[in-house]
Symmetry: C2
Subunit: 759 residues, 2 copies
Amino acid sequence: MKQLTFNSIKGNIWLEGLFGLEKENLRVDTTGKLALTPHPAVFGNKLKHPYITTDFSESQVEMITPPLPEISQAVGFLETIHDIVSLELGNELLWPQSIPPILPADQQIPIASYDEDGAEAREYREFLAQKYGPKNQLFSGIHFNFSFSDKLLEMLYRKANTAISFDDFKDEIYLKTVRQLLRLRWLYVLLYGCSPVVDPSFELRCKMSPYPVDKNVIALSIRNSCYGYRNFDDLYPDYSSVQAYKASIDQMVKDQKISAPKELYSAIRPKFIQSPDHISYLEFRCIDIDPTTKAGISTEALHFLHALALYGLLTDEPDDFGPKVQQQANRYHTGVALYGLNSTPFLIDEERQNVWHKTQTLIQEIIKLFELQGIVYPEYGKALNQALLLAQKPENRKVYEVLSGVVKDGYVQYHIQKAGEYLNDSRDKSYQFHGLEDMELSTQLLLREAAKRGVSFEILDRKENFVRLKKGDNIQFVKQATKTSLDNYASILAMENKLVTKKILGEHGIRVPRGLEYTRADEAKTDFIFHQGKAIVVKPNQTNFGLGITILKENTDEQTFRRAVDIAFEHDTTILIEEFIAGREFRIFVIGEEVVGILHRVPANVTGDGIRTIRELVELKNQDPLRGKGYRTPLEKIRLEEAEAMFLKQQGKDFDSVPAKGEVVFLRENSNISTGGDSIDFTDDIPDSYKQIAVLAAKALNVKITGLDMIIPDVSTEATDDNYAIIELNFNPAIHIHCHPFQGKNRKLNEKLMDALGY
Amino acid sequence: MKQLTFNSIKGNIWLEGLFGLEKENLRVDTTGKLALTPHPAVFGNKLKHPYITTDFSESQVEMITPPLPEISQAVGFLETIHDIVSLELGNELLWPQSIPPILPADQQIPIASYDEDGAEAREYREFLAQKYGPKNQLFSGIHFNFSFSDKLLEMLYRKANTAISFDDFKDEIYLKTVRQLLRLRWLYVLLYGCSPVVDPSFELRCKMSPYPVDKNVIALSIRNSCYGYRNFDDLYPDYSSVQAYKASIDQMVKDQKISAPKELYSAIRPKFIQSPDHISYLEFRCIDIDPTTKAGISTEALHFLHALALYGLLTDEPDDFGPKVQQQANRYHTGVALYGLNSTPFLIDEERQNVWHKTQTLIQEIIKLFELQGIVYPEYGKALNQALLLAQKPENRKVYEVLSGVVKDGYVQYHIQKAGEYLNDSRDKSYQFHGLEDMELSTQLLLREAAKRGVSFEILDRKENFVRLKKGDNIQFVKQATKTSLDNYASILAMENKLVTKKILGEHGIRVPRGLEYTRADEAKTDFIFHQGKAIVVKPNQTNFGLGITILKENTDEQTFRRAVDIAFEHDTTILIEEFIAGREFRIFVIGEEVVGILHRVPANVTGDGIRTIRELVELKNQDPLRGKGYRTPLEKIRLEEAEAMFLKQQGKDFDSVPAKGEVVFLRENSNISTGGDSIDFTDDIPDSYKQIAVLAAKALNVKITGLDMIIPDVSTEATDDNYAIIELNFNPAIHIHCHPFQGKNRKLNEKLMDALGY
């Protein structure tokens, strides 16, 4: 095999590619018994859901991420699907371990059920249950799919200056990577293997010995060992070319070693998607579920694995990868899986190399290679250094944490406790799409709902929160969650223009604050007679924190009026004189002809208990997991800064004051959520008559999605022609404030939006 | 009658109101004979068209403006309807005179024809023809409708501190204005009357003498005189209250003086629209068509008239306006109409006042009143000073210009010549909506088409070019002509985002320039191997005038490539390396699934004739009426400024160089229309295969209206997969460039848009 060298290509281009994950998790009841209930109906057709389906068993949830441009995104996506599934399981939990939980008798293990379209899938599973036994099928794990970027491959191709075609060249690249990873995979298992024990109810069988073995086996990775689920025969595909690879597998089928190519359980599989003749990506299949993390896999482990693949590609192959070499590689793999718990040196090959010494040497070589290729990416550097530390102190590996937990609490109890912790975390983070935390919460919520419904999506412009949703023929472009194809452009423009909005609403008999605009003080003053005797607000056109605003509830004195005009003009060159409408402001969210959420915002505040200081009350309130910093959570932490101190001072208070029991102390004048304000759900507390007006307003502008701001003086009385006013219609209202309010129900606007979009 | 005084209300609030015009114009052939053809079918149903209909005769076009907030807008609107009608008349012209042209025998004068819905209208016209003779019905004139603003009326009401209701108060205001204007109307006729002679074929009858009179009558305003069209009897309505007014007219009907209230031809009519019991606005009916202006009326005359109305409202009434006073006012009116050509003093009343002296005194009083009330509005000031000048030099009145033209060329010939001039002007200005010249040309063109089709419209936000169209149930909001309800918001956002556009087009197999973005020079340089051997453009992300752009047609030398990267980074922090696609750029306008216009832009240029200098050639080219300054015309004048001089200098030329015959000299590098570039229509010159791709691209983004920019290297060959590239889709493309190109056909995109909007 001709060696490939690409030393002259430098930089992070080497890390570019697409990364995806598939994870199996068994559903269990709270006592750790395999759940015998059906897959949750909410996830619809198993064969069509792109992200959530079942594997062999009805109780074996399979979660699949799309190919994503960063490993961290793939892990985040997986964690999000994990969250979504967890929250739909009622009293069941996701079993956070590759080794199965407490299993019933073989015949009671539910094989995945399908409708008539799934007849073939069902048949194959029945065949597997027959051949390998259903329990063996319940070993669960994680597959890591990855490809190199087209740009990198094209650059390698140009550098190679070869006569073969680009497609053939790509196959060579991928096959070399496969061969090298097969040689090196033991290294991954050694550091990250994590299936050390089984429940006493589980009968292990080693393929080398057909009899059940000691149930007290303890190993680094039982799943990766001879006890794991694998082909009966040693099978050695030919990895020298795509053609040879395919031919060798066809021969195995012909020889009835396997029933079909998919029954070949190799540690790494080349995948053929775009074309049957060329490799699209690689699938790495040796990953144990990590019980110490909710997603079951850490980005560190995957960064290390990816680095290992690059190392393999960029270094020379020591030998031809024939059956003998493959057999040896398999021996390393299972050897490490069985004996890798030893933190003292042990031998892994004929040359009698010290495994830990060899591991450290290899990792140092990878680190050097990254330096040489100019790859500078903190997350990868961290992962490599972490791996080196593990090689130096093997007892720091996760598997020991699991083992000590199992020793302390018992196998089932330890994993059930972990599952419970993860479920709580899933509940606390139910507003979040992991890996997309930099996107707006409204978009994260919409994408969660898309993932739940099996609507595949693609992020077109991440900064812009611009995504494409797709299910069947229904393709939708959505920006910032609420900018959709449901609204026509003209209506958006009408909402955007406050003048136009007010005019149209007015024509439809809907109450809006009447007002006039002035750019000259003398004209405004001349109009005193026009405004005389009315309740008015004199205000700068644009204002912050209420500066320059005067409310004249009677407006009888001309001097006061003239002074108010002058004050407003001190803050802007355009002022407004509008009628004053007293009352609370409500955000009314309308979709189609339905009011789906009503919210009222209150400035940052605490309620006294007669004991705690304001500072302590704020700290207590800030413990709510919905409160965070930097708009990554539905609510913001209340700050104890200058603005708050000043506002308290006006009330004769400071952070160390102790409010009386029940006393509400405000720390801000403005009610923005961004400065620690509270959002209070009023959806069920506003009379229908106001909701009807909101729907009427949306219809007047021919708007399908809008967040309408209405002032209502008294929510206990029905709406009349005159006891409310609509301030504006927002064409891009946030949804997360209605989903995770400080007080009140989750109005699930992400679900409502997905309904409206036809999913 | 209680006198009203409002001295304390100051400022231009007095001028606020709504103003509308109605004008009759007879259609004539080029010899000045009344046209006997039907009203142009293009204007549809006469009873439903809000702007263009017929009056008594089928040949008597009636043009109606909506109420508008400025007199200048009303005049502009009228002129635009005049333009629109003129351009649809084939060989006919609009007769620019209140006195009819050459008329056929009575029985040949075509009374306006209607479909069955117009039976009543037809019947009434036949009754009028019978009663007054059809020729008398052909006196044509202009009616001026005006109302005071609600704000002014409310302020007056508050000031009046009266016990009566606001509605009754408004009636009082309007009735006082009617009475005063009836007293003062002679003043308007004296200055602006303009129907001095008749064609010999026309038989004048004075209602005081039933016999035909001397055909050689010369008067200031025959139409306003006893020879004009008027009721047989002297009729004196009671103007003391709305109730009395209505009762007095009902009595006339009862007495069979008139058949219905509408048959009462008073000089000023109160109009009842919102309610049958309260006045909505006033109609002033004494305006002669002014043959010296295309619209038939000048803003000056109307500003004066409006000022006269305000003067009447603001000054005390001298007496009760009973029949005797009314009779006297009528005498003044007809007296002035008959004898007002005298520029020497003549008497108009019992008190033997010198008419010119009285006129000057009154105008000076109006000017003083405006000062007193703080009304400062240059156009009104100009109009009042102009009126004063006419009173001082009566021979400067327009009527003398008409008379001297008639004397020189003959009555028919003079007016036909004027009509021809106006038709040419209508043709030259066919891109313009007068009075809305500050709006974008695309919007002006769309509104012209709306006016033509009888789609009423309202300007919601003038600066924003935001309008509302309405015909029957079809209400459309349109911003900047092409932002409409036809497009969904998501598609607009996809077009707006170049990244997303390219991605979607690419997925649909549509060719877009491939490229990569860089923010670091070292990364761009590392990618040399990726770009090597390709035709590329290295450019700053944002650039002006091609600065910092390097085109590398082969890109074989790494040093050159690295230099190009550095140069680009000198101009921006983000650079693009895109494939280079040679060819001309075309703007392809798509509506629905149809390509409706294709345009190519060429930098400012002149073609030599071997004689003229570049300066002279530019001046010649700039005479095109389509070329103007400041984007008020479809093309801009070529400038002879620094940029042009520098660009010529690079070619070894200056403004005084004489290019060879046929030589094309460019004065600019950029092809923008705004710097004098030419727009060349290619709609019929691009093979269909490219058009199909453009439509496919629009469909890929689910876009209904778009201006797509495509590079085509060779328009003589059909499109292949690879011989074109789409640069972008514009969601707000201008339409005027396709309607009035420098070279090629008017593609009438305003018509196509109105079709698409369902009108």
